[in-house]
Amino acid sequence: MSPELIATSSIATLSRAMENGDTKASDLTTACLERAEDLNPVCKAFTQVFKDTATSRVAELDHGPRRGQLHGIPYGVKDMFDCRGTLTTAGSGVLHDNIAQDDAHAVAMLNNAGANCIGKLNLHEFAYGATGENTLYGTALNAYDKTRLAGGSSSGSAAAVAWGLLPFALGTDTGGSVRAPAALNGLVGFKPTFGRVSVRGVMPYCWSLDHVGIMTRTVSDAALVLQEIATPDPADPGCARSAVDDYVAAAQAGDDLSGCRIGIPRAFFYDNVDTEIRAATERAIHFLESKGATIKDVALPEMTHTRTVSLTIQMPEALSFHMPWLEERGDLYSADFRAGLALGQSLLAEHYVRAKRMLTVYRTEVERVFEDVDALLTPATPAIAPKLGAVSVTTEGLTEPAGNAITRFTSFFNMTGHPAVTLPSGMHSSGLPMGVQLVGRQFGEAGLLRLASIIDANPDFNVPAASV
């Protein structure tokens, strides 16, 4: 395979090529490392590249027994995941000496499956913020327009896959930090049910809302990765112990949607949306209906206070985690994160507890909606990727901070914990990708992947690889 083909291929394609003897783990790793060396100075996807360790591992992968479809596939992780013996910086100067003692659970599972981690990926400092702006490592650029943000907080994960440096990456998603940047870069972004994937070895931002997430080029690829990282982790008390479904089979289960009911939450999720994004979402609805799905409007909880509820949980939890470092090296934090932590200190305990009780209200009300439908469908983001440096975004008459716009439709499902996936819905006339979001039942990852794979298989919704 040519390096150009490697740069745009899915995991499934690369895996088949390896099985057929058309390429080797060493070819894939070399191609990704060379591309990272060429393009990272521009796209700012990586914070660290593990050139030596990734290269030294390919001999074992090329000559050892094949362990499955991820065998020999290069990948990267947001610099919130521990990789033994390397720095975990969380994109911050605060952690300039923070060497991981062990691999994060998800990293260990991928490495056991034969995947080859070639580096750590850029982010908004400590995952605080959805623009992905980072003064220390530079701001990751959108693969389709270098004057625009990749989006965040998993900005490097999105940039690495969209710029063709990696076939997949892991990120974290506390308010949409995997799903939103994936959508802004023409990728698939998957967030499992809260607790489905262990967060052990992942730097916390907000324990109550943090999820490990996946970015890939196809829905089937997301299923392959989820299959490995969803393995229960007895060492993480918050990780589900339940059996893992066959996600890979679910993503290939055919396109007959007879009996499937899809809910459309028109209020809030279809308000103040770019007209082209809204039209693309409507096309996805009609397409699923054409495959036999029943479409019905549904009402989700009142959304007026959801951002405040999320913030009221995020900032005290972040402050609690960061307190020791604030004392020792507080001057190394960025001003915006410190301001957020100061807010966390000024809220009352009762505010925090009430916000946690609101999560129960949201979860209960959404569960009630899922008695009548099997999935929800919304736009992934209300607007295309914002320009670099944009402070605010105006969409159909609504002006809001850029970070709020990026995660407007994703953050609610971190609070309810439902699994959700974003995937492309076509190209905007501006030349940037648009996306839709599907939300499934708690632990309904298999059904969700099946539904998403049906949209993904329709070329009308696909986006061309970025020409970088």
């Binding site: 100061a342 129960t360 209960t364």
Partner: protein
């Protein structure tokens, strides 16, 4: 009853009286008059939280983990 907007002196006094992190005066001022564009004004957050406080949540407990129904039975 409408809330009195937070002021710098009160926040500074809280900082100095509680076992809390010593955020600088400038950082506390950011809460009263936000300039960084990241945090919604603290007064707005408090107003929204006051509305939430008035909601009757009955005995609704704080959210904990999520259990898979078919495995929980």
């Amino acid at each position: 009853m409408s809330l009195k907007p937070p002021d710098f002196a009160t926040l500074a006094e809280m900082r100095d009286m509680l076992a809390a992190h010593g955020f600088s005066d400038a950082e506390l001022s950011e809460l009263v008059d936000p300039q960084l564009g990241i945090i919604t004004g603290f007064a707005d957050v408090l107003e929204q939280l006051e509305l939430l406080r008035k909601m009757d949540l009955g005995a609704t407990p704080p959210a904990l983990g999520i259990t898979r129904v078919k495995d929980a039975s």
